[in-house]
Amino acid sequence: MGIRNLLFEHRDVENIQDIAVYEKHGGYRGLKKAVKMERSAVIEEIKTSGLRGRGGAGFPTGIKWSGIPQNDDKPHYIICNADEGEPGTYKDRELMLKLPHLLVEGMIIAGYALRGTAGYIYIRGEYVEPAWQVRKAIDQAYRAGYLGKNILGVKGFNFDLYIHMGAGSYECGEESALMSSLMGERGQPRLKFPHAPYPTVEGVWKSPTLINNVETFCAAAKILDMGGAEYARLGTERSKGTKIFSVSGHVARPANYEVEMGTPLMELIEAAGGVVGGALKAVIPGGSSVQIVRAEDCPRVNLDYESCQQNGTLLGSGGFMVFNDRTDIVLLMKRTAEFYMHESCGKCTPCREGTRWIYKILDRITSGGGQPGDVELLLDICSQIDGRSYCGLGDAAAWPIVGAIKAFREEFDYWIAHKRSPVGPGHVPPTPEVVNPLLTLVPA
């Protein structure tokens, strides 16, 4: 347990973005192994590894891969979800920025195993620099013969990779909305099983489509290199391997940390240098959509899917946010609610109307207009959204509010009764200064 740099093994090697350096450090070994195997054996390898989707839901990757039909004449599409928009999460950014070849390799392996025709990397619009790195990596891979026609001498293994930049919508990170957006439609979710076939049967352009997160593809490349059984030795019984956490908030060294699954939560905080500016108050372990964990519960939580769920939260995408005791939870929730109100696509009633209502109530409470009964009203609105919305965004907007009320009910009541913050001024983490403007359009 603890820090275990697997995907990040060569993160700090100088010029690892270059294909020659990458190959010297064992790059594309996984792909070379894969193309010597049967296609089904590659999928079997992923199954053996027990890898689960790293985008947030944790769906077993092997099962997803084997859902792509093997004997049909439709084109197959491999899509990488790099629309990393979950507040608090920035792991895909670093992976693409530092290890673009790992992602490219993982996608080519998927393209081989699933007879893919083309791959699309749907990158969040703000990620200009990571996109440049991936662009460069793709170009180098073409020149090295890892992409294009008859890859690595395998007859009939043709695979092309494209980058598609998003246009700034959180919703497009939801896989069906991502498909809509990729096809040029409005970025809104599409019908899902059982209302429509799985994307692996009918996805983009009515063809079988695989959608995985950046980290999942990177892990797939590693798994093919080290072997599924070896990978499965890491982690807990049902959560295998490693997971990258984007640690932020009141810690000494906020950064991406790759830990083995099942690492105690407190150990990660220690690794990040411990809490600063006060005592630990709460942790959001998996991005803003998941429930907040009180400090006294933190020692019980291990960082794997099951342990998180047992403790009333979720592993999510790994946006690990730490708050010290100067944090006002109500204001934090108001900011969270504002985010979901702004990002709701507007398609379905509960999410469109509910997220705004939640924000307006929290805004009223934190402006000194709270009324008795507001907390019950909030809980009731959340129960009317949760599970009733078209896609997961509605659920994700309701969970943190319910979680915060459950964990810090007294702070909401304090705001309503006293019209001021229970922790005094300076209650939210100050906005960090932007030192590295994202829109430097020069190729990195």
């Binding site: 990002e343 398609k347 509910g354 997220t355 209502w357 009317q384």
Partner: protein, 746 residues
């Protein structure tokens, strides 16, 4: 644009499977087609599931956003020991998209579902202005109705509601109230799926989302009126009907649209003698439930203030009102003097009954065969171009059949203007049934709904080169041997000559490869040809129809050549024998009388003492307007039956006020030969008479047998016209009857 079809899901109306499955809805077991929406299945057993966004004719890909139809679902799950248990799905599911599966159990009234519906309605109402007292939709509003039955009695929302300027004019006919919108996406889906202009779309996102057009341009759809009926709240409203009435004050009468030959089923909503709005009536065979803007907003003439209300006689160049007694005396006097030398023009906009009495008066009482309903350029023998070869006049296919074609060839037609409802079928065939469309027109208008938007090949040819284009298509089909060996191509082969695509390209201005591509599509059967005005008004109409006939015969699509009429009863007027060379039921008449053009020529040279024009705008619309004008000037006595003082009527000697579609009973026959009933809604003035009454009164005064009602006349039609045998007001019902030519009659 044709590839856009790929990303859409089919509409939910047609059950996707023949296989039946058993489901249980609120404890009622029912057998339904596999994959049918649970909303439709529930309707079968009389269980009401409320909804806003769902619509059976719109694709379901965009549905399920109102979340009103959430239900609890239990699925059978196999246990390891072989038994089955029911497992509840963790989340409630939308019934409008949930496909029925074997053993599924649905609960629509569980405590949780009732609570969910209350929650959704509370959400919908927090931003709805609730200005029901001044809303046109009040009283027929799904939001009101669902709130009464399923909603919470009060709201807990105390924040500020969303505000927008009221009454944003979206188009010439539609105003939009953004505050009332509940974002059901019905209008945007209609624009996408049905009318195809795709102008309406959602702008912005989240709670700021609103329906709009790009950069606030006008909504130009030719079917924009439908969104008013589709809107489940009062957000999209008619500019002509707005603030005119409360729905419960309106009377409704079933009728047929009088603005084109497609025969849309409509409802006339009226108060006193004011026709206030026209809404669509469902007829799956004809208009499904759509109307075009011409039909929906084009009936303002019925209650126009300038309607004629008394007969007018011209004295010294001025019209003076006279009584009907005097008018009839004048007519009888003139007709007696003229003997059989009288001409009758028009009747395409009158009912079958009017036309039948019209021709009966001329043929049996006056003894004249100079009667013609045709106003177009082709006035040759009626039976020649199509009937003698294929056994029908006009359309070979039913409108509903068009959607089952694999290829549709639209030739020389601005289909959306000439045949709006056929246009919708063609689009449906392309959009949901996978048909390819070949479109040959002289020009493509920008910025409007049109076939060219989704046609696989657009052949934009120079006017007058239709024949070259057709022969080149045939040339490709023959020389590339696209047809099976046993196809009867001999007739076509004789005509083709050396019209190679290259030569035709130089002549027509169409790229040679487009001609080749189109030809490859045409052999992909079943294929139907839709011919428009550019062909029917062509000087070489007969020759073109012959080549088109050869084409359908060679490709094995006999009977799929369609030449639809243009006015609401073009077909009926012909059936009733308002033609110079055939009588009722297309029985040849010997000797034939003069056709419209010859009558006008005779009148212009002063050889026709009496000309009776029935609802025909000759001066305005006839292709030789000068001739029409001279004819009306030089004819000693011109009678015109009209609704308003048109330019033609102004040149008449006697103008008779005729009843409009809303003021009389009768039948129309649509372009696909569907006989449909119109019902009288109201009387505007006691001095306005339906045309048949005018004719029968004149006939009676001249010694003929009078008729007393349209029912009476239809009985006589059924006895006289073989195709109408068995048709009566009762047998027509709501959907009408499409008649077929009696076998062996051709």
């Amino acid at each position: 644009m044709s590839q856009f079809r790929l990303t859409q899901t089919p509409p939910s109306l047609n059950p996707p499977s023949d296989r039946m499955v058993r489901v249980k809805i609120n404890g009622i077991e029912v057998e339904v087609p596999n994959g049918e929406n649970i909303i439709e299945s529930a309707k079968r057993v009389g269980v009401d599931i409320p909804y806003f966004c769902y619509h059976p004719r719109l694709s379901r890909g965009e549905a399920a956003n109102c979340r009103m139809c959430l239900v609890d679902v239990y699925m059978p799950r196999k246990n390891p020991d072989g038994t089955e248990t029911l497992a509840k799905m963790p989340k409630p599911q939308t019934a409008c998209t949930l496909p029925a599966a074997q053993g599924m159990v649905i609960e629509t009234e569980s405590e949780q579902v009732v609570r969910d519906r209350k929650g959704i309605l509370e959400f919908l109402l927090i931003n709805h202005p609730l200005d029901c007292p001044i809303c046109d939709r009040g009283g027929e509003c799904p939001l009101q109705n669902n709130t009464i039955f399923y909603g919470p009695p009060t709201s807990r929302y105390i924040e500020e509601k969303r505000h927008f300027p009221k009454a944003y004019p979206l188009s010439e006919y539609v105003v939009f109230d953004r505050e009332r919108c509940i974002h059901c996406a019905r209008c945007t889906r209609f624009a996408d799926d049905i009318s195809g202009d795709a102008q309406l779309a959602f702008l912005k996102r989240g709670a700021d989302m609103e329906v709009g057009t790009f950069a606030q341009t006008a909504y130009r759809s030719k079917f924009s009126g439908n969104v008013i009926e589709l809107c489940p709240v009062g957000a999209l409203l008619s500019r002509t009907y707005r603030f005119k009435a409360r729905p419960w004050d309106l009377h409704t009468q079933k009728s047929i649209c009088s603005r084109c030959s497609n025969g849309c089923n409509v409802k006339f909503d009226y108060r006193l003698e004011q026709l206030l709005r026209v809404n669509a009536r469902v007829n799956e065979e004809v208009n499904e439930e759509w109307t075009c803007d011409r039909g929906k907003f084009g009936h303002d003439y019925v209650s126009a203030p300038d309607r004629l209300k008394t007969p007018l006689l011209k004295r010294d160049g001025e019209f003076v009102p006279i009584s009907w007694t005097e008018a009839l005396d004048r007519i009888v006097e003139q007709l007696r003097q003229a003997g059989s030398n009288v001409g009758g023009i028009g009747g395409q906009r009158c009912t079958n009954e009017d036309n039948f009495v019209f021709q009966k008066l001329f043929r049996e009482v006056l003894g004249s065969n100079h009667i013609d309903s045709r106003l177009g350029r082709y006035q040759g023998p009626v039976n020649r171009p199509l009937f003698e070869r294929f056994g029908y006049h006009g359309m070979g296919n039913r409108i509903a059949d068009l959607e089952n074609m694999k290829t549709l060839f639209v030739f020389g037609s601005e289909l959306v203007d000439e045949q709006p409802i056929i246009f919708l079928r063609v689009r449906k065939a392309w959009r949901f049934k996978g048909a390819s469309v070949v479109n040959a027109v002289t020009r493509v208008e920008e910025e409007t709904t049109k076939v060219a938007d989704f046609a696989e090949v657009n052949l934009i040819y120079r006017p007058g080169t239709e024949m070259a284009l057709l022969l080149a298509l045939a040339h490709v089909i023959l020389h590339e041997k696209l047809l099976p060996k046993n196809a009867s191509t001999s007739a076509l082969a004789q005509r083709v000559g050396d019209w190679t695509p290259a030569r035709a390209a130089a002549e027509t201005g169409v790229a040679a490869e487009d001609i080749v591509r189109a030809a490859h599509l045409l052999v992909n059967g079943p294929m139907a040809i839709l011919v428009g005005r550019a062909i029917t008004e062509h000087p070489e109409f007969e020759a073109l129809v012959e080549v088109l006939g050869d084409l359908v015969v060679a490709t094995g699509n006999q009977g799929n050549l369609n030449i639809p009429g243009t006015e609401c009863n073009t077909q009926g007027a012909m059936d009733m024998g308002v033609l110079p060379d055939v009588g009722p039921g297309y029985r040849p008449i010997d000797p034939p009388g003069m056709n419209t053009h010859r009558m006008l020529e005779a009148a212009a040279s002063g050889q026709l003492p009496v000309l009776w024009i029935v609802g025909a705008k000759l001066v305005e619309n006839y292709h030789d307007a000068d001739l029409a004008r001279r004819a009306l000037e030089n004819c000693p006595f011109v009678i015109v039956n009209e609704l308003r003082l048109t330019e033609t009527a102004r040149m008449a000697d006697l103008v008779l006020p005729a009843a409009s579609v809303a003021e009389k009973d009768g039948t129309y026959t649509s372009c696909e030969r569907r006989v449909q009933r119109i019902h009288k809604a109201f009387d505007i003035s006691p001095d306005i008479k339906p045309d048949w009454l005018i004719f029968t009164e004149v006939a009676a005064m001249l010694g003929g047998t009078p008729y007393f009602s349209p029912r009476d006349i239809l009985r006589d039609i059924a006895a006289t016209v073989p195709m109408y045998a068995g048709i009566s007001f009762r047998s027509l019902g709501d959907a009408g009857i499409r008649w077929e030519y009696p076998a062996g009659d051709a």
